[in-house]
């Protein structure tokens, strides 16, 4: 008779075997230390901008290797216990080839009595710790994000497979009418067919809608992608694979404010400080910044809003601490320019000159000189 666990083992892929043995080894280590009456420790990479470096030839934020030690003491016992239970949950998921969303994992913890999380951000942090601890992608641990990947419209065929039949699906991104193709959570299996000239990654759904409605992709022969704020990992990976595959440029069109530049654009291009061990895959080094630039505010006489305190703080912080911004004098100048003006402008501010000004004038003018785009 074949044991149930053996079946599971067979189902497990190489990657999950690796994860399982890493989980086992770390638990073994902790157990051994405890029984030797020593305080167990976990070494976690520091997940912050201070622990990443930027080298343009590599193209993404890399970890510098600072680690924090979480030693089990009276003060850390709660987090330590929660981290271990999260690892145990991950083990169960991987073993059973199951998945849990971040929110589901949070609800599972409700079954842990006093060790339960009271808010989801707490469980997300612990999950990020676990991910960084094992140096893997959280999907490999069985955890998946629930946020949407992003929307796509334009000159692109996405090649996917039907789950049940395994039959090839050729998805035509020009055939969604006023709708769009949704980027799935996992994009590794996708293949592409396209002859587009470039990819335009857009911050807001509103601007994306306008460009889709007027079939801008037809006019400019491009692929439109709506990021909806800071791009998810899936969205970053999708753009990266697509751009690498067809060697086409990626232009980024976001609000002209510190958030658009230092959070959305920077995360898309070089990754985040939070999960730096994964940036290598979740970044788009070829991305270039189309607009809205601080200079656009002047050139296009855009209506503006004053920078809020958090904008100013974010901008100053980026100039001082963000290794990517610090690397490019152009970016420092641009951000200082914005600070000096003390204002920000949204993508939609272009509507001041007419609703379709963005299609008829702004984008064509900008795209005529891509070498002028910020790095």
């Amino acid at each position: 008779m074949v044991k149930k666990s053996e079946i599971k083992q067979k189902r497990a892929t190489d990657s999950s075997k690796k994860v399982l043995s890493a989980i086992h080894a770390s638990a073994e280590d902790i157990h051994g230390k405890i029984m030797a009456r020593k305080k167990p420790t976990m070494k976690l990479p520091v997940r912050s901008l201070a622990n990443v470096k930027y080298q343009p030839q590599r193209g993404f934020f890399e970890m510098k290797g600072q680690k924090k030690e979480r030693t089990l003491t009276v003060n850390t016992v709660k987090t330590f216990a929660q981290t271990l239970r999260m690892v145990a949950l991950s083990k169960e998921l991987v073993e059973n080839d199951d998945i849990a969303t971040k929110r589901e994992a949070y609800y599972v913890s409700k079954n842990w009595d006093e060790a339960r999380f009271s808010e989801q951000p707490e469980s997300d942090t612990v999950m990020d710790d676990v991910e960084a601890y094992f140096g893997v992608n959280r999907e490999q641990l069985g955890f998946i994000p629930e946020e949407k990947g992003g929307d796509v419209a334009g000159r692109l065929f996405v090649v996917d497979h039907d789950r049940d039949t395994g039959q090839m699906l050729r998805i035509d991104c020009t055939k969604f009418g006023s709708g769009a193709y949704s980027i799935p959570i996992s994009v590794e299996q996708l293949q592409f067919e396209t002859n587009a000239d470039f990819i335009l990654a857009i911050e807001t759904a509103g601007m994306f809608q306008r460009l889709v409605k007027h079939n801008y992709w037809k006019k400019a022969n491009c692929i439109l992608i709506s990021m909806g704020g800071v791009p998810t990992r899936a969205c970053r990976r999708f753009i990266r694979r697509l751009a690498d595959f067809k060697k086409i440029p990626v232009y980024v069109f976001v609000d002209g404010d510190p958030y658009g530049i230092t959070n959305i654009y920077r995360t898309l291009k070089v990754g985040s400080g939070n999960a730096a061990h994964l940036n290598e895959f979740f970044c788009v080094p070829q991305a270039r910044f189309l607009g809205i630039t601080p200079q656009d505010i002047v050139d296009y006489k855009l209506p503006t809003h004053p920078l809020k305190d958090v904008d100013i703080k974010r901008a100053r912080d980026a100039i001082k601490n963000d290794p990517f911004i610090k690397h490019y004098r152009e970016w420092i100048h641009a951000i200082e320019h914005m600070l000096k003006m003390g204002v920000r402008a949204e993508q939609q501010a272009l509507a001041k000159h007419g609703l379709n000004y963005v299609i008829e004038s702004y984008l064509p003018q900008k795209l005529a000189r891509p070498e002028k785009f910020l790095p």
């Binding site: 989980i23 638990a27 157990h31 016992v77 929660q82 083990k91 169960e92 006093e114």
Partner: protein, 515 residues
């Protein structure tokens, strides 16, 4: 022109300026009337060496019409004095001598009676008896505001149960409210500052009396009378004193009517004023008083004796706080007496912290002058200014800029003086003389330091408890997780939990020793 000028009587003046006496609105009027009657009763009992037992009743007759009754077990008032005390403004037992007492100017109770008369037309009613072998006299009196003289409406002997004491009843227009400026608060605070007093209080919305029990059987020592110190007199008072002295020579008048003025000092003052020691004080009152006033302040005079004060004292403050407030920590401090402008005074601070007190609100500041609660004009008072000037954050409370601290705390501040410098006639706020501010600050800081010690010890204990419970709560989860990952047996899991608990407990007790 001169024919049309006539002397305005004091009563008439005050009937037109009743806000000066605390009758400016109906809510305050009700409070002030009760306050004046209670002040008088407590003063009378203490003077006679009787532990006060007071009845305070408020009956609501109509929407805005009340009848208040205040009854004490004091010595009673002799028949002949009753009309003067209750029917004539500025009639007091103190004159030319100073003494720490609740009432100061002798305006209070007769003004309350006058307010009642003006608003309802009803007389003030007094029942008083001086001993079990004496009859009880019942008076109804109205004040003739133009003459400042009592008008007796009723005068009879009545049957009255108490062997001695006085009962005052006034009918007036007023408003009864709860909260900060309420009679309820006044009674509560009076009970705290006077733990030797018991009060039966019947508010208008109740038929039964609340009993605020006595917390101490000890009467406060009777304060002694002192003559005014030259540095403390204002020019107007100096003129009046010179006018009314029986002495016929200036130097004698100075020596006789002031404290700390020796023959030598009197001569020095005369010399500085370029006046003859033998000059007639009555004529000086008219012509050279200002010169004399300036001269006094240029001569060095010994500070007044401070033994005339009767503080509440630390242990009595604690008794008062403990019996009226449910808190976890109490402390009090009585400063040694000192002097501002020739007037001896003494500052006391007490505080109650924790327990059932609300922790998210500003601390409750209770201000007292000569054991009387001050409920109005908080922001204009020296006590408030001093409390605001303290950095309470260094004592473990949170505090926003320019505000009282936030925390579960009642702050009790008392100033005792033969002459409390109020900012107005209605006696609601103390003037911020530098000497008074300094004493207040030092007393508040001293209590603050004691509070800080308590808060720190308390926090440490809570912290300790929390850490201990952390071990109990979370270690089992480490056991569960390791069992799930490694497939440990139940026994192995138990071993992990027990070992880890032991290791952490040990390291925790080591940390404590290191502290």
């Amino acid at each position: 022109m001169a024919a049309r000028q006539r002397e305005i009587s004091v009563s008439e003046f005050f009937s037109k300026n009743r806000h000066l006496l605390g009758f400016d609105n109906p809510q305050k009027a009700l409070l002030t009337a009760i306050k004046e009657a209670v002040d008088n009763s407590l003063d009378a009992c203490e003077e006679a060496g009787i532990l006060p037992a007071l009845k305070v009743e408020i009956r609501q007759l109509a929407e805005d019409r009340f009848r208040i009754g205040v009854e004490d077990n004091g010595p009673g008032i002799i028949k002949a004095q009753i009309p003067k005390i209750f029917g004539k403004l500025l009639y007091g037992s103190k004159f030319h001598t100073l003494k720490q007492a609740r009432g100061q100017q002798g305006i209070g109770i007769s003004a309350a009676g006058m307010y009642g008369l003006l608003t309802t037309g009803k007389s003030i009613a007094i029942t008083s008896r001086t001993g079990h072998d004496k009859p009880a006299h019942y008076y109804e009196i109205q004040i003739d505001t133009r003459k400042n003289a009592p008008q007796i409406i009723t005068d009879k002997v009545v049957e009255w149960e108490p062997p001695h004491g006085t009962r005052v009843e006034i009918e007036l227009i007023g408003t009864y409210k709860k909260g900060r400026h309420s009679v309820d608060d006044y009674i509560h605070q009076t009970a705290i500052a006077n733990p030797h007093c018991e009060i039966f209080y019947t508010p208008p919305d109740s038929t039964e009396a609340q009993h605020l029990a006595r917390g101490s059987e000890e009467l406060p020592p009777e304060p002694s009378e002192i003559k005014p110190h030259p540095y403390g007199v204002e020019l107007g008072i100096l003129i009046r004193m010179m006018k009314e002295t029986p002495a016929r020579h200036l130097s004698v008048a100075l020596r006789r009517d002031f404290s700390r003025v020796s023959t030598r000092v009197a001569e020095d003052i005369c010399k500085a004023a370029a006046l003859s020691p033998n000059a007639n004080p009555h004529s000086i009152a008219v012509n050279e008083a200002e010169r004399l006033y300036k001269a006094i302040n240029s001569v060095r005079i010994m500070s007044p004796a401070t033994n005339c004060l009767s503080p509440i004292r630390e242990e009595q403050i604690l008794l008062g706080l403990k019996k009226e407030i449910d808190a976890a920590f109490y402390t009090a401090i009585t400063r040694t007496p000192t002097v501002y402008r020739g007037n001896p005074f003494q500052v006391e601070v007490g505080l109650a912290y924790g327990g059932s007190l609300p922790s998210e609100e500003l601390v409750d500041l209770m201000r007292f002058a000569n054991r009387v609660p001050l409920q109005y004009q908080q922001s204009g008072c020296a006590i408030t200014k001093a409390a605001l000037g303290i950095d309470w954050r260094s004592y473990g409370l949170s505090q926003s800029k320019g505000a009282l601290p936030v925390g579960p705390m009642i702050l009790f501040v008392h100033i005792a003086s033969a002459w409390v410098p109020f900012t107005s006639e209605s006696k609601e706020a103390v003037a911020p003389y530098p000497e008074i501010m300094r004493e207040l600050r030092l007393a508040l800081q001293e209590c603050g330091r004691k509070l800080a010690t308590h808060i720190r010890a308390h926090r440490r204990a809570v912290d300790e408890e929390k850490k201990k419970s952390y071990i109990e709560k979370y270690i089992p989860h480490i056991g569960i997780a390791l069992r799930e990952i490694l497939g440990l047996s139940a026994k192995a899991e138990k071993d992990v939990v027990a070992t880890l608990k032991d290791v952490l407990e040990r390291s925790r007790s080591k940390e404590q020793i290191d502290d």
